[in-house]
């Protein structure tokens, strides 16, 4: 019985893996917590934010979710801490700190 993509892992027997490495489905990558890579962390400061949304499209990791025209908090499960958003923000609404330190 072939497993669903989300149920395939490094202990799955060959008989249960998808054929030829194909993956029927979408966005199974969200299970990978790339936030663990982070050494620096962007910190959102909502009171400074003008919702200009300059930061959102520049995030290579789709980690600045936007809903109905407004950005939400960072997706720290996946944000790798590149700091592009921090440098782009014209309103000091994003701080950039060492992981583990306070803003």
């Amino acid at each position: 019985m072939i497993r669903k993509p989300q149920d395939i892992n490094e202990s799955t027997p060959w008989q249960e893996m998808t054929i030829g490495g194909e993956i029927p489905g979408a966005a199974t990558s969200v299970a990978t917590m790339t936030g663990e890579w982070r050494s620096n962390r962007p910190v959102y400061i909502p009171q400074n934010c003008k919702q200009c949304l300059l930061c959102a499209p520049f995030c290579p990791d789709s980690s600045i979710p936007v809903k109905e025209g407004k950005r939400l908090g960072f997706d720290y499960d996946h944000c790798k801490g590149c700091g592009i958003c921090y440098r782009i923000c014209p309103f000091s609404a994003i701080d950039f700190v060492k992981e583990g330190e306070q803003s």
């Binding site: 949304l53 996946h78 700091g83």
Partner: protein
């Protein structure tokens, strides 16, 4: 329709997080932008050449794509795209496909300028209805920053290292955008990550919805290869445009349009000095390299202006 930034950014994300591109990689920005440029209701098939993006965005069993995706090899993304196009036509003929399906091909400069050039040229000549996006980071980054035909002159790459008797790459960058324009295809554009990415969005959207082949060349910085702090990506892109190292233009049905002309064209070192790959150019005795780089940019810029005027 006028560009509405908030509306575009509020669309459901089509390039999911959890991919394994390096922190700050420009390719991730492009993947999001090009899929955002699709009409929400349209289906897409993403075709990807081997490279950083491929090994990062579809590492079994994790796909970062919400659209169908296919990767075959390094040099043949456009040919695979041709096959997908033929399948779309066939399924439409048979009445088995209702959705509007767009083909988005994406490769780095290795898979586009070099090893994939034949297949790209072939697909363009055949009039394949696909959009080819090149994330041009100016070297073979996946294998460890070796020079490509897109690497600019004087850049330090691992196969053209600067050394006691070397000032980095000897040859100038291949002008692929112009070569693609010479194919006489309906739409060719060059852009990078500038402003609020409206330019990229509009070009991607125009390319995708122009019937027939389209080519969009996107300068896409690589923090590791270009040796700069990850957070500086937007600044580097801005300097590429302000120095005219990477002009933003499009060629629509053979007519050339310049999309942005810097008020004060900045000297080329403003772009170069931000990146470690040009560090050796700033050593005493190597002033000539910056002069030569400037001469080349000036010549190419004049050449471009003569086409758009």
């Amino acid at each position: 329709m006028a560009y509405n930034h908030k509306k575009e950014l509020s669309k459901p994300e089509r390039f999911a997080p959890g991919h394994r591109l390096c922190s700050g990689c420009g390719a991730g920005i492009l993947c999001r932008a090009m899929t955002r440029a699709l009409d929400e209701e349209d289906q897409a098939v993403i075709v990807n050449a081997t490279g950083c993006l491929e090994v990062s965005s579809f590492l079994y069993p994790y796909t970062a794509w919400t659209d169908s995706y296919i990767h075959g090899a390094f040099e043949n993304a456009s040919a695979i795209g041709s096959g997908v196009e033929a399948a779309i036509k066939m399924k439409q003929k048979k009445g088995e496909l209702d959705a509007n399906v767009k083909i988005l091909v994406i490769g780095g400069d290795g898979g586009t300028y070099d090893i994939g050039f034949q297949s790209l040229s072939g697909a363009m000549e055949r009039g394949t209805d696909l959009t080819y996006f090149c994330y041009d980071n100016e070297a073979y980054m996946n294998t460890g920053i070796q020079r490509s035909s897109s690497t600019p002159r004087f850049a330090n790459a691992t196969t053209t290292p600067a050394g006691k008797v070397s000032t980095g790459k000897v040859q100038n960058k291949k002008d692929l955008t112009q070569i693609m324009a010479a194919h006489g295809i309906p739409y060719v554009a060059q852009t990078t990550y500038i402003g609020n990415l409206r330019d990229l969005h509009e070009k991607a959207n125009r390319a995708i919805y122009t019937p027939g082949p389209a080519f969009v060349n996107v300068m896409s910085p690589c923090p590791r290869g270009w040796q700069y702090p990850t957070e500086d990506l937007a600044l580097i892109c801005k300097m590429a445009v302000e120095t005219c190292v990477w002009p933003m233009y499009e060629v629509i049905e053979g007519t050339w349009y310049l999309n942005y002309e810097p008020k004060n064209k900045l000297p080329v070192e403003e772009f170069m000095k931000l990146q470690g790959r040009f560090r050796h150019c700033f050593k005493p005795g190597n002033e000539w390299t910056i002069e030569e780089a400037q001469n080349y940019v000036d010549r190419k810029w004049e050449e471009l202006l003569s086409k758009v005027n």
